[in-house]
């Protein structure tokens, strides 16, 4: 799920950046440092939407670097256990399938795929119902439920299921 939150960060700036463009430099460094990173608490920082406040800079003893406390607004993405998400399938194999929802990598094990779907190997491995009406293959869009999440510095891993009601393929790429 996406959230729009306020976060705070201490930005350290080298004196070469001081001058007329100080604020711009702070903001661009902030964007470079923070956008695209993950934290366990907030999730994946998608984009910075605005700067709320830049505090007074504090010169660090002995180095000449200056630390500015910056309060900024940003959009973050964080999946939660129990959440329903839509994702795109990236890989299908006999163990289940892998899907992506933005920066989030989700694995749905074959234990959590409905029993009436069988794995078919071949050029385009897929899971198909016995009557062939529903097929999950690479690039299919699926609705799944998150069973567990784990966040590390750059990626978010999730375990998902499609065994519940209303979960499964949303869009069949073959007919799209």
């Amino acid at each position: 799920m996406f959230f729009h939150i306020v976060m705070e960060r201490n930005m350290q700036l080298h004196p070469r950046h001081f001058g007329r463009n100080l604020r711009e430099n702070i903001v661009s460094k902030l964007m470079k440092d923070v956008e695209g990173t993950c934290s366990g608490r907030h999730g994946f920082v998608v984009a910075i939407t605005g700067i709320e406040n830049i505090g007074k800079g504090l010169i660090r003893d002995g180095t000449g670097f200056v630390t500015f406390p910056v309060k900024y607004q940003c959009v973050v993405f964080r999946p939660f256990k129990g959440e329903i998400l839509e994702a795109v399938v990236t890989m299908v194999n006999k163990m289940g399938f892998f899907a992506e929802a933005g920066p989030v990598q989700i694995f749905v094990s074959n234990h959590l795929i409905p029993d009436d779907m069988e794995f078919q190997s071949g050029d385009m491995p897929n899971y198909t119902t016995s009557d062939g009406s529903v097929k999950i293959q690479k690039d299919s869009e699926v609705r799944l439920k998150i069973i567990g999440t784990r966040v590390d510095a750059t990626e978010i891993f999730c375990i998902g299921t499609i065994k519940d009601d209303f979960l499964g393929v949303i869009n069949d790429p073959a007919t799209a």
Binding site: K81, M91, N93, K94, M95, G96, F98, Q105, F107, S109, H111, L112, F119, S121, D123, P125, I147, G148, T149, R150, D152, F157, C158, I159
Partner: protein
Amino acid sequence: MGSTEEPDGSTSQVSVTEVLEEESTKQNTCTHPGSFGDMCIICGQRLEQESGVTFGYIHKGLRLNNDEIVRLRSKDMKNLLRHKKLHLVLDLDHTLLNSTQLVHMTPEEEYLKSQTDSLQDVSNGSLFMLENMHMMTKLRPFVRTFLKEASEMYEMHIYTMGDRAYALAMANILDPKREYFGERVISRDDGTQKHQKGLDVVLGQESAVLILDDTENAWTKHKENLILMERYHFFRSSCHQFGFNCKSLSELKSDESETEGALATVLKVLKQIHNNFFDNTSDNLMGRDVRQVLKTLRQEILKDCKIVFSRVFPTKFQAENHQLWKMAEQLGATCSTELDPSVTHVVATDAGTEKSRWAAKEKKFLVHPRWIEATNYLWQKLPEENFSVSVVKNQ
């Protein structure tokens, strides 16, 4: 008319509690068959690294428990047999191709740099320059036909001692459409033991896997699954690495024969093994073992031969343990240390030894040890005349 109160409210309350309890018992009774990002793939619980094997080459973060691996292998076996396929694990270096670092190329090999094939459309090329890895690679003749035909009988895997980047680059050249190997590209980063290859990271039943590799020592635990390949030395650096101080194929502007080279030969063997495995007998298919089929086929090659070795092994060496003795026995020959009328071949490097002279007198075959090695590589009993032995000059 009495009103029947439908106890909806209380029923749903009960069912909610039931669902919650079910969730926690699910976690407690979960067998944790595997993990993704350290979370159980069924219940999502955070798991410590327990028993099992990491399958990073399939997807980063994937790990499977031993029981689950057994279950998957058994399921895979049923699927394979239904499609009449077996597993084939292929080594890269010296088996399917030969690579060299650019700095190791000799002046006589410089001409190759202007003859490389395009990396944009690899399907017809055989010589490639990989700038970012500072190397060149040459595919073995016949490799594309080999892969195409083998893929109809075998599900194929790449297993190399190179690192992952190298493995993926080579897989891309050999299989640009990802139709042969899929995600089954195993590198040394995926192995569980240093300097050893193992079938523990291959999701196939050991009784249904064949291995093609030029290095026997990499597969000490799975020698019965191995078909040893003759090494492909195209570049000078490769010859040099194995101690051959001769001009390489690249320097001689020559190459291995396409139709009679090692890959063509081994393809025939693979077809034969596949045939023998799936032939229609009343046997239960699930009980068959490809290692047995391989062994039986190999034992046909020298089956009527009785071999005695003369001064081939170091004096105090236990003859039966020597590699050549074992190789001859695997090929179906009977080996002996004593001469008798039933002996058919004497193997020696010097025609002047006592046993060699006995062979000449009794009109038995006198062959160089290379006859056994060549027979092993080419899967057929080669003409003994091509391996005759001359008298070693006295010093």
